[in-house]
Amino acid sequence: MTVINRLSSRRRGDEDVVERIPDWMPRSAADWLAMVFMLIIGILTIMPIVWVVTTSLRTPAESFTVPPEWIPRDLYFGNYLQVFDEIPFVYQMGNSFFVTLSTVVGQLTTATLAGYTFARLYFPGRDVLFWVVLATLMIPYQATLIPLFIIISRVFGLADTLWSLILPALPTAFGTFLLRQYFLQIPGEYEEAAMMDGANQFQIFRRVYLPMVAPGMAILAVLAFNGKWNDFLTPLIFMNTTSRFPITLGINDLQRYMMTGSISVVLAAIVMATLPVVLVYVFGQRYLIEGLMVGGLKG
């Protein structure tokens, strides 16, 4: 497997540059421009998040102020405790984890395989099929929701089960398209080299191409995790039993009858429910960046 060896010998290529100045210091006018731009966008994106977090640590009466207050005067954790009183938070988080992780693993599998086919393997009718797959992204979900629910409940009898949330989400046109683009970006020489070494087509996929699309898979994992974790409309229709709810429905419960619940308690639950997603992103990002920095996409 000389190809594989050659690939791994490329890793850690840039490490030998010795840097004295801290790597975050701008070194040129363009760097400075980039830094200022990043800061502005960073501040604009984080301000609303800061308000969400601080509001979860005080009462609504103290939150909708003019001028806005970004820092709570006294941290009030009661909102967080109240979440546990009102909904089976841990249980519903568990449901969300099960549904989301199953979906992510499933999507990674189906999308990698299908993406590879559409980029690297050929059979008659493939390109038409690619357009069919892509076309499924183009119908508004709201229009197919009821037919999907009928299929889930009448054909499969899966209504009110976690499977009803997982199974329909396994095939992913978006992920297939994303990974197809990644496979397409890899130069063909790798394949030729591997074939010279006698690898069959599956081995070429498994040992040559798959490791190189790890960043694409990381992106898909992060986006799929996030999308599924925040899914609201589907469970609203499909699920009936509170203990089987994913956390998004639990959060809706916290708004209470006629929206009389405290929005601060709602936001406390959202902050807690979002933390796992942030962690997934932070780790996913590390994997993603490492993969990109050292990987073989340099042909």
């Binding site: 909708f64 037919p147 009928i150 609203l236 809706n252 209470r256 006629m258 929206m259 929005i263």
Partner: protein, 463 residues
């Protein structure tokens, strides 16, 4: 389809849709068959199962052969609830006992989804004497459709005026009495405007409680109102001798739109002038969260709300005693607008008798008393008069809590927001043109002329 039950019919139509889907699938797909039942299984739509737990437990204890499956519909806005209910309908597996508010009472009745309860009420009239004696006639009337009763009730909200007492005190004002007028309101709004960036009066653009209260006190409505014939048996049985029940019929009807009648225009001109004079902030669309936030943040002096805000304001962090309520100010009348919620029974679901038995349990005073939206904090107003207690509302610090129920007892001409079968589309038309008038892009007259034209079109399509 005379001898098909509704459930069978819905299932057949779902099977048709599923069949079309199955035909699109390769191979054959069998429809899941309904589970056989030794026990009676009843599907009951709840907002949150915790709030009705006591009711369910006590009922299942009394009736061990009945299993009640709680279908949690957590939707907080009407469209979310409707989406869920319609999906269960489309899949041919609707709830046996549903829960609906004024907005859809007539829709479910008119489409034959809800069963008329009249014959059952006649059979069990004795059992319901106490229930209706404890419920104001104005509320009961909203549950009638073309002469028949379709729903029981547990909670309602009339739009009263809420006052932020912090701003009231800073402006040096006292709470008004029940007989206060629109002119009193106007000068109070002026006095409470401008204290640390505050506005005297705020509201949001929706159907219930937006500028609708002004429409009602100006003695008009978006739609023409009339009473359907019938219902004599109901009033004679349960409200004999109650003068507030005199003249009520078989339920409200809204035969035609009248959005641009002069009183409507006058009411809209009034609220638009409040915005133009800076007494009201920009009127935005919304579900109430921001309104609650700005009111509890001492930015709004007065705003329309109902009993649900008593608990809601406590939940949002206002100190008990820092807000209070009063009747809507008098203009040409002091008629209030309201919405009422309660359970209905699926017609043709096959479980109607058991459902009715359940509703007889549901209506009991001690069962209602324990409902999660009344206890521990009142998050809405009980339709049973006797559950509006000092103990319940006193803890919220609302001194005038009696106003919530007095609204319908002392102003018995108070009526529901218009709720024809196509009310949701009607609501959309209403909020669209309200927005165009309050932002000044159309004059109140133009906006209401356009509103009227669209509503006429809507009526023509549904004729």
């Amino acid at each position: 389809m005379g001898n098909l039950s509704r459930r069978e019919m819905l299932q057949a139509s779902a099977a048709g849709v599923a069949g079309a889907a199955a035909a699109a699938l390769p191979g054959s797909v069998s429809l899941a068959s309904a589970p056989s039942q030794d026990q009676i299984n009843m599907r009951y739509q709840v907002f949150n199962v915790d709030t009705v737990q006591h009711m369910l437990n006590t009922y299942m204890e009394l009736n061990p052969h009945v299993n009640i499956e709680a279908i949690s519909v957590t939707g907080v806005d009407h469209q979310e609830v409707a989406t869920k209910i319609l999906a269960t309908l489309a899949a041919g597996n609707p709830v046996d006992v549903g829960f609906a508010c004024t907005e859809v009472t007539h829709l479910y009745a008119g489409e034959g989804l809800a069963q008329p309860l009249t014959p059952r009420l006649m059979d069990d009239a004795d059992e319901f004497m106490e229930y209706y004696a404890d419920t104001s006639a104005a509320l009961s009337e909203t549950m009638l459709y073309e002469g028949d009763v379709y729903q029981l009730m547990d909670n309602f909200n009339a739009a009263n005026m809420f006052f932020n007492k912090n701003l009231l005190a800073e402006a040096g004002l006292e709470m008004p009495g029940k007989e206060w007028t629109k002119d009193d309101f106007y000068s109070m709004a002026q006095a409470m405007t401008g204290i640390d960036g505050s506005f005297g009066y705020g509201w949001i653009n929706r159907f219930w409680g937006s500028w609708m209260p002004w429409i009602f006190v100006n003695d008009t409505n978006v739609l023409e109102e009339e009473r359907a014939p019938g219902g004599e048996w109901f009033w004679d049985t349960f409200y004999a001798g109650d003068e507030r029940a005199v003249g009520r019929g078989g339920g409200w009807r809204w035969p035609a739109p009248q959005a641009n009648n002069p009183k409507m225009v006058e009411a809209l001109e009034f609220v638009v002038s409040l915005t133009q004079e800076g007494l009201t902030p920009a009127v935005e669309i919304g579900g109430g969260t921001t309104l609650l936030g700005f009111f509890s943040g001492n930015k709004l002096g007065m705003t329309p709300a109902g009993g649900f805000w008593a608990g809601g304001l406590i939940n949002s962090g206002l100190e008990p005693g820092s807000f209070d309520t009063q009747f809507w100010p008098e203009w040409k009348s002091q008629r209030h607008q309201l919405g009422v919620c309660g359970p209905w029974i699926l017609d043709g679901g096959g479980q109607e008798d058991q459902c009715w038995d359940f509703l007889k349990h549901y209506k009991k005073r001690e069962i209602q008393d324990a409902l999660g939206h009344f206890t521990p904090l009142p998050l809405t107003t009980p339709t049973r008069r006797s559950l509006n207690t000092e103990e319940r509302f006193g803890q919220t610090g609302v001194e005038n809590w009696r106003v919530f129920y007095d609204t319908i007892d002392e102003r018995p001409d108070t009526g529901p927001i218009a709720q024809p079968v196509f009310v949701v589309e009607l609501t959309n038309i209403f909020t669209r043109y309200t927005g165009l008038a309050t932002n000044g892009e159309q004059t109140p007259q133009e906006a209401l002329d356009n509103m009227q034209a669209e509503m006429e079109d809507l009526y023509a399509r549904n004729a």
